[in-house]
Amino acid sequence: MTLTAILLVAAALIGIGLYGTLSQQSFVMLMMGLELMLNGVLLAAVGFWSLAAGGVPTGQLLAIVTMAVMAVEMSVGFALITAVYRNRQADMTESLGTMKH
């Protein structure tokens, strides 16, 4: 379990997440891609903290901030999906071609 191996796994998670974010049409699946990218970021941050930074406490703080970002992204994302659905019955990205309906 070297830092290289951990960062490789994190890069794979970020790559898969980017693929999901760009390819999925459904808003909910698109958000799963974003979550997967943040998963990779979290793993990379903890890997650096554990194996390269000698366990400085601010490294763990960075991971906590990433978790807060995850929660914010999820919450605001679903609120936006609900708002868009209420206004336009849209649950696919293709339905949102314009700013007005």
Binding site: M1, T4, A5, L7, L8, V9, A11, A12, L13, I14, G15, I16, G17, Y19, G20, L22, S23, Q24, S26, F27, V28, M29, M32, E35, L36, N39, L42, L43, V46, F48, W49, S50, L51, A53, G54, G55, P57, T58, Q60, L61, A63, I64, V65, M67, A68, M70, A71, V72, M74, S75, V76, F78, A79, L80, A83, N87, Q89, D91, E94, H101
Partner: protein
């Protein structure tokens, strides 16, 4: 680092990557959210191996709850939540695969040419105590800012998803989508309160 730790790491790493990839291949939206949960739990377990018990367990608990909420939203918003029909809902597929691979190769290349410091955390370090002192000590402002941000997020989520907006009910004049293209609106129609419903499509 013992052999058992190494083996555990590769098992968790493989689980994280494979379940992360299967999220976008499965037919069922609910199954997709549980696969994402598996990926998060595997990453949480890797964090435990890396000597970050607080972060690892917090990730597992937080994602356990988050993916349950996700599964609920899946059932609410998705056609085919049970996965009984095959489902492919993708656009710009080739470009996305290319972008995903490019991101992976780019990150891996940067990682391989960079010379990282080799400074592992001491095995007897009191990492949870350190974190607590950091959160409520030097970095308290950052920690509290995250807390206030979460509060603002709660307010914003309620405002965005509530039925009444600044200019009246948010769903006025909207109709449910038809089950087949060009068909009748599905479900219960909203009450026509005297207005003649200028529906926009």
């Amino acid at each position: 680092m013992s052999v058992v730790d190494d083996m555990a790491f590769w098992i968790f790493a493989l689980t994280a990557i494979v379940s992360g990839w299967r999220v976008f291949c499965t037919d069922s939206m609910v199954r997709a959210s549980f696969l994402l949960l598996a990926s998060f739990i595997a990453v949480g377990l890797i964090m435990l191996l890396l000597g970050a018990p607080y972060l690892g367990i917090a990730t597992i608990f937080m994602m356990g709850v988050e993916m349950m909420v996700m599964a609920l939203f899946m059932v609410m918003y998705m056609m085919n939540p049970a996965g009984l029909n095959p489902m492919v809902m993708v656009h710009q597929h080739r470009f996305s695969i290319g972008a995903g691979i490019a991101a992976f190769v780019g990150l891996a290349a940067v990682m391989l040419v960079t010379d990282f410091a080799d400074n592992p955390v001491a095995s007897d370090a009191r990492v949870v105590t350190d974190l607590g002192k950091e959160l409520l000590g030097d970095s308290m402002l950052i920690f509290e800012t995250a807390g206030v941000t979460l509060l603002a997020t709660m307010v914003a989520s309620v405002i965005l998803s509530s039925r009444s907006g600044r200019f009246g009910p948010a769903d006025e004049g909207s109709v449910p989508p038809p089950l087949e293209p060009g068909g009748q609106p599905a479900g219960r129609l909203p009450e026509e309160g005297g207005g003649h419903g200028h529906h926009h499509h």
